[in-house]
């Protein structure tokens, strides 16, 4: 019996609280666009009509970190900028996820030099690394879908609140 029949005939369905909460969370991930350099252009394309992140409920780029739950770090992070990124990350409420978009963010990329942080995982918990310079919007979409999978697998009950209880590991490398 499908969901529609349940709702139209009985007016209610029985399920677990976790299923409902993760269903709501994964289909309305609001990204914090931490667009620092050229990857941000591809991130905009990801929100545009062709890639269309609204299919995943993520079209609402939250320019306030307080309403965001997914930070997309798109660009070269310098040591000077790292404190700003961290400050914005700290303002996002739990539970929250982080995508390191592009090779600069993931590993320093071509900037093997003294002012550039060689990977933001030195100061942030990264859930997905997206390869590419810059990655195509499809790659970012795949990372978002990976985060959705991860949200589905998490256990957001009160006892686990704020803990990373997902069965999917942190630090998945996304390539297309």
């Amino acid at each position: 019996m499908g969901l529609n029949e349940h709702l139209t005939r009985d007016g209610f369905v029985t399920t677990t609280l976790e299923s409902v909460v993760t269903w709501a969370q994964r289909n309305s991930l609001w990204p914090m666009p931490m667009g620092i350099s050229c990857c941000a252009i591809e991130m905009m394309a990801f929100g545009g009509p062709r890639a269309d992140s609204s299919r995943f409920g993520s079209e609402r780029f939250s320019f306030s970190p307080r309403q965001a739950d997914l930070m997309i770090v798109a660009g070269t992070v310098t040591y000077k900028m790292s404190w700003v990124v961290k400050k914005i990350w700290d303002q996002m409420p739990d539970p929250k996820w982080c995508i390191a978009m592009g090779v600069c963010t993931s590993s320093g990329g071509m900037f093997r030099s003294y002012p550039v942080v060689q990977g933001i995982d030195q100061f942030l918990p990264v859930d997905a690394y997206v390869a590419g310079c810059p990655p195509r919007p499809e790659a970012l979409m795949k990372a978002l879908m990976y985060i959705q999978e991860k949200v589905s697998a998490s256990k957001p009950t009160l006892a686990n609140f704020g803990k990373d209880t997902g069965t999917v590991n942190r630090g998945e490398i996304i390539t297309i």
């Binding site: 040591y79 093997r112 002012p115 803990k163």
Partner: protein, 170 residues
């Protein structure tokens, strides 16, 4: 060598005969010694035949030789005549300072700070001789100040010399 370049060289030579012009790929560079470069710069700005009223940039070159190690380079532009010249002044590694040119061009303020930050060359008489990009305590474990564009500075920097935010454990 074009007549423009000959005019510029003549104006510089009128101040001191101790100048060495070099033309390379259509650009003129004049090497001046440190005792006369202030007079040459002021004359190039004020002389009606040159009118270099804009200082575009100041930087330095680390030649990694001793004792004649650095060249400080002044990029001048004349908005009226649309001609450019570079003035190079040698700085020895046992005397890492030059007089400031802030009195001649106001724009020298930040350029000299940047040059100081990157090479450690101080500019005497500068109103605000602080670091420009790097933190004031950019030094290694021994407390030696670091200057990143020097040739003996490692490309990847010195571990621990720049702070990172602490990582939260999950």
């Amino acid at each position: 060598m074009s007549t423009t370049f000959e005019t510029i060289i003549a104006v510089a030579k009128a101040v001191t005969p101790n100048v060495t012009p070099v033309e390379h790929h259509g650009d003129l560079t004049i090497h001046v010694d440190r005792d006369h470069f202030m007079d040459v710069l002021a004359e190039l700005r004020d002389n009606p035949r040159t009118k270099f009223n804009m200082l575009v940039d100041i930087t330095a070159v680390d030649k990694n030789t001793s004792p004649d190690r650095y060249d400080v380079v002044y990029f001048l532009l004349s908005l009226e005549f649309s001609h450019r010249v570079r003035i190079k002044v040698g700085v020895r590694d046992d005397r890492m300072e030059l007089p400031t040119v802030v009195e001649i061009w106001e724009s020298a303020n930040w350029y000299e700070r940047e040059t100081y930050d990157m090479y450690g060359i101080t500019f005497e008489g500068h109103p605000d001789m602080r670091r420009f990009y790097m933190p004031e305590d950019f030094m290694d474990a021994d407390g030696t100040q670091l200057y990143p564009l020097r040739k003996d500075f490692p490309l990847m920097g010195i571990p621990g010399s720049l702070p990172l935010p602490p990582k939260e454990e999950i």
